[in-house]
Each structure stands twice: as structure tokens, then as C-alpha cells.
């Protein structure tokens, strides 16, 4: 009896380091990428590896980070949300729409007390997320198409609210959180850190988090276990929209203005952050830890390219190539794991 109990442990030890590393490829590869990129830019530019610049990088990735929290939930369920940037944009515009603007801003807006403006904005993004959720679960539209439509719908609402104008004022709380700082640390970094931590705790320590991984890992099995798969899928779509909305409000305060198409680059950045970090596009593997590494890879890349002397048009191509590399690793890591499981 004793021998049969120790056998598996021995077998696991006997499997050795190489297979273990291979199974952890998904987590190791993004980390190595981050170290490599940081090392490269530190050597290439004296202004890169400074405390000031670290602060810059953190601030630059904060809005993406807030949006990426919700997107991590969605991708863990093997779904996608293409409406994140549009929802961020419309929520940022909405909170400005409900705030008193300077007299030269010519938008027929509805000024409300700050807290009401924030609540209405949150309600708006939650409602848009709910529409995504219903389209996906009740009607059965694939999330890729559903959120593509939502991307247009949210952009349309944005256009109607600002009518080509730019609004500048948002409630004071939002202004502080988006552009203020405490003890030298920008509030926006603190908010992003709290949201990422919160996302991590939910995914790791709550029942809902476990369900997210189970639904992503094997949706059919989750259904055969009697889980309410549709409810879980719906919930992640709403979470994603609300995170996007919060990111949008902070972003508007951070940029100092609310206007159309302000967040367009955030769609690709957020998806890139989640996927580059190693969360599987096939669901069930990864998490907020991966997203944080992905955010840093992206942040270091964007920031570092500004510190070295490169043709600014080449930068876009380089970003694209790095993203492609990360996707290849993502698919490859999935295949290695499947092989290990056989």
C-alpha cells in the first residue's frame, strides 16, 4: 500500500524539469519577453531605466490595465469582446455629458450632480454589456459578431452625445482619480492596481472565478456538471463592459477631454495585453497575473520605442510583429499542454 502511495510522487519527480518547464511555457515565455525587452531598451537608451520612466510606463498602461481586467474574464471563457474601446469611449463621454461644461462648449447636455453623473455612466456601460450578454446567450450570436455590432452601437451613441464637439469637464472625483496623484503616485495607477488585484482575487478565490475557468476549459463538461453556463458567460460580458466603462471615465479625465474615437487604440492594446501575457485564446488557462505581465510587455515596448531613435512609422510594424510572435507562442503553448495531457 505504502509503495503505491509514493509511486505517483516519484513518477512526478522522475518526469524532471524539462516537461515541467514545457507545461509552464505559457507563463514563462511572456516573462522572458519582458526581461529581454527591458534589458534591450536599458542598454539602448540611458533615459529608459529610470524611476521617473517607470512611473511613466505605469501611468501609460493604467487605462489599458483597467479595461484588460474585464477582458481577461471574457477571454478565459474562450469568448472575445471587441466593444471594449467603444464602450470605454461612450462611458467617458456620458460622464462628461452629465457634467456642467464651460460656456464655450456647445453640447446640449444635461448637467447633474457628480455622483449621479458617475452612476448614470456606470449604468450605461452595464446596460450595453447586458445587451452583449443577451445577444451571446439568449439569441446565440457569436461574441465576435455581437460585440462587433456593439462597437458600432456604442460609437453611434458617442457621436450623438457630443455631436462632433469636445467636452472637457468631468466630475471632480473622476478628475482626481484620472489625473491627480497622492504622495507622488498617480491615482490612476492606484486604481488600476486595485482593479487588477480585485480581478485576481475574484478569479482565484471565489466560486464564480472557478466557474469561469471551468466554462473556459471545457464548456460541454461544465454543462454536463449542471453549471449555468449562460449565466456565467453573460456575467463576464457585463464585467467586461463595466471595467471598460471605468477605464473610459478615468481615461477622459487623464486626457483632459471627451470626444469621439478617443479610445480606438485601446481595443488592440487590451487584447494584446491579455494574450501576450499568456492567457489562452481557447479559454481556461491564464489569469490576471498573465495580464499584468502582458501590460508591462506592451508598456515597455511602447515606451521604449520612444526612447530609442527609430523611424516612428517603423514602430507600428514592430508592435505588430511582437504581437504576432506572442500569438504564435500562445498557440504553441496550448499544443504542448495538450500533448502533456495525453
Amino acid at each position: 500500500m505504502a509503495s503505491s502511495e509514493t509511486a505517483p510522487a516519484a513518477r512526478q519527480r522522475a518526469r524532471g524539469l524539462a516537461p515541467f518547464l514545457r507545461s509552464q511555457m505559457r507563463n514563462i515565455a511572456p516573462f522572458l519577453t519582458l526581461i529581454f525587452l527591458s534589458g534591450f531598451f536599458a542598454l539602448a537608451s540611458p533615459s529608459f531605466a529610470t524611476l521617473d520612466n517607470l512611473g511613466n510606463i505605469l501611468t501609460q498602461v493604467s487605462v489599458t490595465g483597467v479595461i484588460a481586467v474585464g477582458l481577461t474574464f471574457v477571454i478565459l471563457c474562450a469568448e472575445i469582446d471587441l466593444s471594449i474601446a467603444s464602450i470605454a469611449n461612450v462611458t467617458g463621454i456620458a460622464v462628461a455629458y452629465f457634467t456642467v461644461q464651460e460656456s464655450y462648449v456647445n453640447i446640449p447636455n444635461i448637467p447633474l450632480p457628480g455622483i449621479a453623473a458617475i452612476l448614470l455612466a456606470i449604468l450605461l456601460c452595464a446596460a450595453l454589456g447586458l445587451v452583449n450578454a443577451l445577444g451571446l446567450t439568449v439569441i446565440g450570436i457569436p461574441s465576435f459578431i455581437m460585440t462587433l455590432a456593439m462597437m458600432q452601437i456604442a460609437a453611434g451613441i458617442s457621436a450623438l452625445l457630443v455631436r462632433g464637439q469636445i467636452a472637457y469637464k468631468v466630475p471632480d472625483v473622476i478628475t482626481t482619480l484620472g489625473s491627480g496623484s497622492i504622495g507622488g503616485i498617480p491615482w490612476i495607477v492606484i486604481v488600476a492596481a486595485i482593479m487588477l488585484l480585485g480581478g485576481h482575487l475574484v478569479l482565484t478565490y471565489t466560486r464564480f472565478g472557478r466557474y469561469v475557468y471551468m466554462v473556459g476549459g471545457n464548456r460541454e463538461a461544465a454543462e454536463y456538471a449542471g453549471l449555468n453556463v449562460k449565466l456565467i458567460l453573460g456575467a463576464v460580458m457585463v464585467i467586461s463592459a463595466v471595467c471598460s466603462g471605468i477605464g473610459g471615465m478615468l481615461g477622459v479625465a487623464h486626457f483632459g477631454s471627451a470626444q469621439q474615437n478617443e479610445f480606438d487604440t485601446y481595443l488592440l492594446d487590451s487584447i494584446a495585453a491579455v494574450v501576450v501575457g499568456g492567457t489562452s485564446l481557447f479559454g481556461g488557462r491564464g489569469g490576471i497575473g498573465n495580464t499584468i505581465v502582458g501590460l508591462f510587455v506592451l508598456g515597455v515596448l511602447n515606451n521604449g520605442l520612444d526612447h530609442v531613435n527609430i523611424d516612428s512609422f517603423l514602430k507600428i510594424l514592430i508592435r505588430g510583429l511582437i504581437l504576432l510572435l506572442a500569438l504564435i507562442i500562445n498557440v504553441y503553448a496550448q499544443r504542448l499542454r495538450e500533448k502533456a495531457a495525453e
Binding site: A9, R207, R210, M214, E223
Partner: protein, 500 residues
């Protein structure tokens, strides 16, 4: 076999093994033009393996393979196709998103000189072909919109009219209604008259006897009998299929087994007049506490659909379900679970999380009970550890990824998942399929323990042994209808096969 004619196809001493297990052992087989040749045998007897060799699917084997007296070796299914051999596989292989006409002409659509598809001609010819077969559908409608039985007929029609000299039909009638079977038989007879050689595999022995000229019986990879259909009977064929003398290690269930008097315990599940499109017709039965109800039938008889309806994964077209007297309409699997129903489907891939540790696979069903919001991993592991020890799952390490376990142990994990719940009604599909004798016995003992605890259990299987080893009462499902109930009476494998 008609004498004096040269066989179109001749196989001599065919042996084929899969990873050391011999699926065919020295089989001889011959086929003449204008002959319908029936094949019977239990699951795994070697019928399909032999046909796949003929159709060029399996290319590695030993023995001689002659076509028109010429020794031949196919390297692919394509080679077989160009030699005039066509096969309808057991699983539907159609393109549901293409039109009926495109499916009929799959791979050889009529084209004009520019290489463009001649749609009008294709639609007209497809319509004509199908009409000869008694199928009246719009050739331009999407195939996937048609009922499964019709799709199967269209697939068969495509193969029959492809101009092949040798046509192999594997289990073609399982999804067909009686009039459709008649139409199929009429077409087969016409093709026979035109000189086509046809191989017909079926579990439905009456069908084989009605349509074929010759019957060959397979058992354990050997050909055990070949007779003219007119000179044999259903009983004789069943006996040849199963074999007497108990050469197998396992209980062969060839002798009568006495089923107990039905329990008069409370009714856990009452099913009334359940119907589902072409799969199920007016199914009514009851499952009682402390009883194992076996449901036996051939592949495609509607078992799978029935099990899915009981667990809320499929919605029936008509009929009612009641759990402990309360009428239920399961809108989702979650609703079925809440009502106390649990299902272990036949595919382990579909019901387990292979990349997750064993304990998460077990605790998934009770998570909402042990944790309101936060997970309690220590408690999950404790509960899982207890199950692992009780069911003797090897290795007994709950932290190991499920994918590292053997198939039999994975099956036990699937049971363990529901034992912790525990449900009022447990539905098991093919609970011992593909298991070795030891694991099979373990599962049988687990099911008996559960019965003793007062669960109502339904075991659905296409293997008579599985049902006979577990059930207190047996229902036989045939083409979607319940045709026989065995209760408080002797039953054996012969009797089950006879009824199905």
C-alpha cells in the same frame, strides 16, 4: 454465392491488429456481382474493420486482396474509390451547409468547358436520382434543414448512384422509418439486378434476412459462419454471433438470468409520452428508488437523445417529466441538477476537465453547497480524497491533473463527481464501455452500492452485458420506441437481442 461466376472481390487470410490486439484473424471473404451479402456480429467482432480494409481506409494488414482476380493493394480510400468501391459509414458524413444537389454530386459536380459548375443541370439530375429513390425534396434546399433520416437516405442515395460496382452499407437503417427502409430495400434489389455487389451490415437481423442472399457471421475477429439467408433463422444467427461454451473470461450472460420482482418503492422519475422528432416516439416509463433500470438498444435507437432529455440538454417535442411527483420542464442542465438528476454521458472527454486536477473535477458539482462566495480548497480536497479512497481511484492523488489518469479511473472520477452530490436519479450512459475487467467490476460494485443507498439509477447501453450485469428491470428501445419490458422474469443475451 451464385456458383460459376467469378467473384468481383476476394480476400484471403486477412489479419489486422491494432497495437497488438488482433481485430481480424485469418478472414476469407468473397463477393460476387449481383449479390447482397449481409454481415452480422457483435460490436467489436471485426465487421467494420474488414469493410474499412475493403474501402481503403485501413491500408496496413496481412493477407491477399484480389479484385477481378488481380492482386491489389489500396494505398488510400481514393484508390478504392477509383476501383469502384463506395461505402456509407455508420456516422453521417454529409455537408449540412451545402444544398441537397451539391451533396448528391459531392466531388464530381458537372462543369462546363470553363470549369464552372452547371447548377441547373446538377439540380435537375440530383432531383431525378432522388426521385428514383422515392425521395421528393427540393434539390436546392439546404441539406442540414432536413430531418436526420432523410439526410441519411440522401447520403445512401449518393453512394448507390455513384456508379460504384461494390457498395458497402454500414448500419444504414438505424435512423430510418419503416417505409424508408422499404424504399432502400427496393433500390438495393434493383441495383442487384443491374449487377452491383452490395455488402449490408446491420444489427437488425430481420432486415439482413429479408434483403440479403448470403449472411456471414463474425465473432471475436473470426468468420464463424457463412450461409445462404434462406437457409438460416434469427435464432441460429444470434447463437452463432454470441457463441456457446463461454470462451471469454467474462460472464457471457448466455444463460437465463432471473430478474427480481419490481420494487414497490417510491417513483422517482415518471416519463410520460415523450417524443422527439424522428428519434423518440411516445416513451413512457418509471424509475423507482433503489432500483437499477436498464435501457438496451442498438446504436442510434434513441438512447442518447433520451438521456439528454432527462438532463435538460435537449428539449422534447412532446411529453412530460415528473420528479417525485412534481412535473418538470428542464430548461437547462442546471435546472435538472437542482431537481436532483445527474447524468454521466458516454464520452469522458465531454464530461471531465482534463487539464484540471482531480479534486476540482469532483468538487464541481457541490461547489455551491460548500462555498457561498469564497472557495474552500482544503474542504474540496478532503471531500475528493474521501471519494478517491472509497472508489479506489489510482493513483490516489487528488492534486494530479485528470488527464494523467487511465480511462477507467477517469470514469470513476466522473461517478465520484455525482456521488458527493448525491442526486435522486443517476443516469449512466455506457458506464463500462472500453474498460478492462477489473475496472468494470469496480463500476458495477459502485452502482450496486448506490442502489442500496436508495438512488434511482438508469443505465443506458448498446452492450447487452452491461445492462444484464447491472439492471433489475430492462426496457428495450428499438428505433425510438419502447418495444419490450423484462421484469420479474428470466432474461439472457439471446432474449435481449431477439427483442431489439
Amino acid at each position: 454465392m451464385p456458383e460459376g461466376r467469378q467473384p468481383i472481390l476476394e480476400l484471403q487470410g486477412i489479419t489486422k491488429s491494432f497495437g497488438g490486439v488482433e481485430a481480424l484473424r485469418g478472414v476469407d471473404f468473397a463477393l460476387s456481382p449481383g449479390e447482397i451479402h449481409g454481415l452480422v456480429g457483435e460490436n467489436g467482432a471485426g465487421k467494420s474493420t474488414l469493410m474499412k480494409i475493403i474501402a481503403g481506409v485501413h491500408t496496413e494488414f496481412s493477407g491477399r486482396f484480389l479484385i477481378d482476380g488481380q492482386e491489389t493493394h489500396f494505398r488510400s480510400a481514393r484508390d478504392a474509390h477509383s476501383a469502384g468501391i463506395a461505402m456509407v459509414h455508420q456516422e453521417l458524413s454529409v455537408a449540412p451547409d451545402l444544398t441537397v444537389a451539391e451533396n448528391v454530386f459531392l466531388g464530381n459536380q458537372p462543369t462546363n468547358r470553363l470549369g464552372l459548375v452547371q447548377w441547373r443541370r446538377m439540380a435537375r439530375e440530383a432531383g431525378e436520382q432522388l426521385a428514383r429513390f422515392g425521395i421528393d425534396v427540393d434539390p436546392m434546399s439546404r441539406l442540414g434543414d432536413l430531418p436526420i433520416g432523410l439526410q441519411q437516405l440522401i447520403e445512401i442515395a449518393r453512394v448507390l448512384f455513384s456508379g460504384a460496382r461494390i457498395v458497402i452499407l454500414d448500419e444504414p437503417t438505424s435512423a430510418l422509418s419503416p417505409p424508408e427502409v422499404e424504399r432502400l430495400f427496393a433500390t438495393l434489389r434493383r441495383l442487384r439486378a443491374e449487377g452491383t455487389a452490395i455488402v449490408f451490415i446491420s444489427h437488425f437481423i430481420e432486415d439482413i434476412l429479408r434483403v440479403s442472399d448470403t449472411v456471414t457471421v463474425f465473432r471475436n475477429g473470426r468468420k464463424v459462419a457463412e450461409t445462404a439467408s434462406a437457409a438460416t433463422s434469427k435464432g441460429a444467427l444470434i447463437e452463432a454471433m454470441i457463441g456457446r461454451g463461454g470462451e471469454a473470461l467474462e460472464h457471457s450472460y448466455s444463460d437465463d438470468l432471473m430478474l427480481p420482482r419490481p420494487a414497490d418503492s417510491s417513483v422517482v422519475l415518471k416519463v410520460d409520452q415523450l417524443s422527439l422528432a424522428r428519434s423518440l416516439k411516445d416513451i413512457s416509463f418509471e424509475a423507482r428508488a433503489g432500483e437499477v433500470l436498464g435501457i438496451y438498444g442498438f446504436m442510434g435507437c434513441g438512447q442518447q437523445e433520451l438521456s439528454r432529455i432527462l438532463f435538460g440538454k435537449l428539449k422534447p417535442d412532446a411529453g412530460t417529466l415528473a420528479v417525485e411527483g412534481k412535473p418538470k420542464t428542464f430548461a437547462s442542465t442546471a435546472a435538472a441538477r437542482r431537481a436532483g438528476v445527474a447524468l454521466v454521458p458516454e464520452s469522458r472527454r465531454a464530461m471531465l476537465f482534463h487539464q484540471e486536477p482531480v479534486y476540482k473535477n469532483i468538487s464541481i458539482s457541490i461547489l455551491d453547497r460548500i462555498s457561498a462566495l469564497l472557495l474552500k480548497p482544503a474542504q474540496e480536497r478532503d471531500i475528493a480524497q474521501r471519494q478517491v479512497e472509497q472508489l479506489q481511484i489510482r493513483p490516489p492523488v487528488v492534486g494530479l491533473d485528470l488527464g494523467m489518469l487511465s480511462g477507467g479511473n477517469q470514469q470513476k472520477v466522473a461517478l465520484a463527481k455525482w456521488l458527493t452530490y448525491p442526486p435522486k436519479l443517476l443516469v449512466l450512459c455506457e458506464p463500462t464501455r472500453g474498460m478492462d475487467v477489473g475496472a468494470k467490476n469496480d463500476v458495477i460494485n459502485i452502482v450496486r452500492d448506490l442502489r442500496a443507498k436508495g438512488l434511482a439509477i438508469i443505465v443506458l447501453s448498446t452492450e447487452p452485458e452491461t445492462v444484464l450485469s447491472l439492471a433489475d428491470r430492462i426496457l428495450v428501445l428499438k428505433r425510438g420506441a419502447l418495444v419490450r419490458e423484462f421484469s420479474n422474469e428470466p432474461v439472457s443475451k439471446d432474449r435481449l437481442l431477439e427483442a431489439a
